[in-house]
């Protein structure tokens, strides 16, 4: 489990040093923040996919619910983290629990499709919120404040908050998976019947796992809306859910830190290729194909191949 773990640790360390090592222009900070936030969302999805075997194609909706909670509170004058965070996390968790309660009854491709369906419902709901800009989206009046201080406006502070929360969500997800709760989840993924035979009903465990992942995605949503000071339904689109899934797969399913690598490489590649040519997708597409065919087990499998 721990083989190759030096790589994501190194990546986090690089992100920690980066602002001090000259990468402190705001676009670089924006880019890194975006990568870290998406990595956080990807970790929570990886917890679901790799841990519980629940492949969700509606994970961006949980991110979006968290983001929209911030926007709606902002419009009504609530900007303090003490109010914003619990509400956003709660909203994302409740959304996940409600939709999960139905979705987890299905499995495999049907689970993918039903989560897609809920994601689409959230997307259309966000598009019809005309008080919050509808399809055009909503620009925040101010970033979330921490105990009255406009801490998040400070780029450096925001950078380290993102980094800290990314590390924290990785740690929390790892601990959860290593716990008794996580063992049941993984056992149910490998063989649901056997888990039931030894006396566990997977359903409540999966549902709780789904809720936790939703809450973690909600935190990512709070950060994302603060990073861009803007939220729009595009954040909830199924393409976004797809991108998150690709980060997880690219990094390697079955290792949480694979998601971090996947997200960093995804954002990096996307940015770098887009600089080269407007037709960067002609390169990015085949690159995805080749990486899937050549890299079994994703990037994580490259540095720490699994043997039986």
């Amino acid at each position: 489990m721990m083989r190759g773990v030096w790589l994501p640790l190194l990546a986090l360390a690089a992100l920690a040093i980066a602002p001090l090592a000259g990468f402190s222009a705001s676009y670089e900070m924006t880019l890194m923040a975006r990568a870290m936030i998406l990595a956080m969302a990807a970790v929570s999805l990886s917890f679901l996919v790799g841990g519980a075997g629940l492949v969700s194609l509606g994970h961006a909706a949980s991110v979006g619910v968290g983001a929209y909670a911030v926007a709606i509170l902002d419009a009504n004058g609530f900007t303090d983290a003490a109010q914003v965070l619990p509400v956003a996390i709660g909203a994302a968790a409740i959304f996940a629990l409600l939709t999960g309660a139905i979705a987890i009854r299905t499995s495999g491709v049907h689970f993918i499709m039903i989560t897609l369906a809920f994601g689409q419902m959230a997307f259309f709901t966000a598009s019809s919120l005309s008080a919050y800009g509808g399809d055009d989206g909503y620009t925040l009046y101010s970033r979330t404040e921490v105990a009255g201080a406009r801490l998040l406006e400070n780029r450096l502070a925001f950078h380290y908050i993102c980094l800290g929360l990314l590390a924290a969500s990785w740690a929390v997800a790892s601990m959860l998976l290593a716990s008794r709760f996580g063992r049941v989840l993984r056992a149910a993924r490998e063989n649901a019947q056997r888990a039931e035979a030894v006396g566990f009903t997977p359903y409540p465990y999966r549902l709780v796992g789904y809720g936790i992942a939703g809450a973690m995605a909600g935190v990512a949503g709070v950060l994302l809306v603060n990073a861009t000071e803007f939220v729009s339904p595009a954040m909830l689109s199924w393409q976004r859910s797809g991108e998150l899934l690709f980060m997880v797969i690219l990094g390697g399913v079955g290792r949480l830190w694979g998601a971090i690598l996947g997200a960093l490489v995804f954002v990096g590649l996307e940015t770098w290729l887009a600089e080269l040519t407007p037709h960067w997708k002609m390169i990015f597409g085949p690159l995805l194909v080749v990486s899937v065919i050549a890299l079994r087990g994703g990037l994580a499998g490259l540095v720490a191949p699994r043997h039986g």
Binding site: V49, V55, I102, A103, R105, T106, S107, G108, V109, H110, I112, M113, I114, L116, A117, F118, Q120, M121, F124, T125, S127, S128, S130, W238, G242, L245, F246, I249, L250, V253, H279, K281, M282, F284, G285, P286, L287, L288, V289, V292, I293, R296
Partner: protein
């Protein structure tokens, strides 16, 4: 809402359903027989539309365009199968999703590079121009009737092929138990290639037919793909019959939902709120229906595998 308008809307719903079926049929075959999630099915539909449009423009005839586009779509499908998909059959669904998404990115951009980003024009063939008045002031285009007929004919042909021929028997057997078929000495690799190429041609056929009605533009396959997935999941993966019924169901739900929802909401809300909420609900209706059906029948309406 008069009965007449309701009937016209039902006809419109069937029309949309038939078009969806043409796309979904290939998808459900490939998915059912090979257990292969092909997100690139939507771009194959787009490719069909582009090939049809440019071949029609080059030959000056819609019919030549159609006739030439079908083998071209088939070839494109075979090429993709050999280059990419063949290497993915043994992999899990996630790997297939990621790789076929890569194909989507490539082809959407490629089409833009070759044909430009602006939508293409595909004229209706002279033979099928004009319309039939189905209610005062409303013509039902003959072309659409032709598409309906073509769709129903394709559905019947597919049913015959799958239920009554030896190849169909193998396909059905492959859908329910591929290792068994292979053990019985059937070249499963060739069967897969065949089914795949056929699925690609069906998608291309749907694309050519859609050309004169919808706008032919990059990314046109993406929305259709999602709806087609909804169709095959509701219908039960691998089932042609399920896909047909689910496609009509989705077409009807979507069309009738759009025309009835705003009026329905007016029972609860004032006019302007009813219109907007009704419209928002109508666009969700297909997904709500899918979630509801899956909640009660987790394997769809006509599950193939026991």
């Amino acid at each position: 809402m008069t009965t007449q308008l309701l009937l016209v809307q039902a006809l419109n719903g069937l029309q949309l359903g038939i078009l969806l079926f043409l796309v979904a049929a290939g998808l459900t075959l490939v998915f059912g027989v090979m257990d292969f999630i092909n997100l690139a099915h939507g771009v194959q539909y787009m490719l069909g539309a582009y090939l049809g449009a440019s071949l029609a423009a080059a030959t000056g005839s819609f019919w030549w365009g159609l006739v030439l586009a079908l083998p071209a779509a088939l070839l494109a499908g075979l090429l993709l199968e050999v280059l990419v998909f063949r290497h993915l059959y043994a992999r899990d669904h996630l790997a297939q999703v990621l790789a076929t998404f890569g194909v989507i990115l490539f082809l959407n951009e490629g089409v833009k590079l070759v044909w430009g980003a602006a939508p293409l024009q595909v004229p209706i063939p002279a033979l099928l121009q004009g319309g039939v008045e189905i209610m005062p002031g409303l013509q039902y285009p003959i072309y659409r009737i032709a598409v309906l007929v073509a769709g129903v004919a394709t559905a019947c042909g597919l049913w015959w092929l799958v239920e009554r021929t030896r190849a169909g028997m193998l396909v059905r057997a492959g859908a329910s138990n591929a290792p068994m078929v292979s053990a019985l000495g059937v070249d499963i690799g060739r069967l897969f290639t065949l089914v795949f190429a056929f699925g690609a041609m069906l998608a291309g056929f749907a694309g050519v037919l859609a050309g004169p009605i919808f706008s032919v533009e990059p990314g046109m396959g993406d929305n259709v793909l999602i709806l087609a997935f909804v169709v095959i999941v509701i219908g039960g993966i691998g089932s042609i019959r399920g896909a047909f019924i689910a496609a009509l169901l989705v077409g009807l739900i979507d069309t009738l939902g759009k025309s009835l929802m705003p009026d329905l909401m007016r029972l609860f809300l004032d006019a302007s709120a009813a219109r907007q909420t009704g419209a928002a609900l109508a666009s969700m209706l297909v997904y709500i229906a899918m979630a509801a059906i899956l909640a009660f029948r987790p394997a769809g309406l006509f599950p193939v595998r026991a």
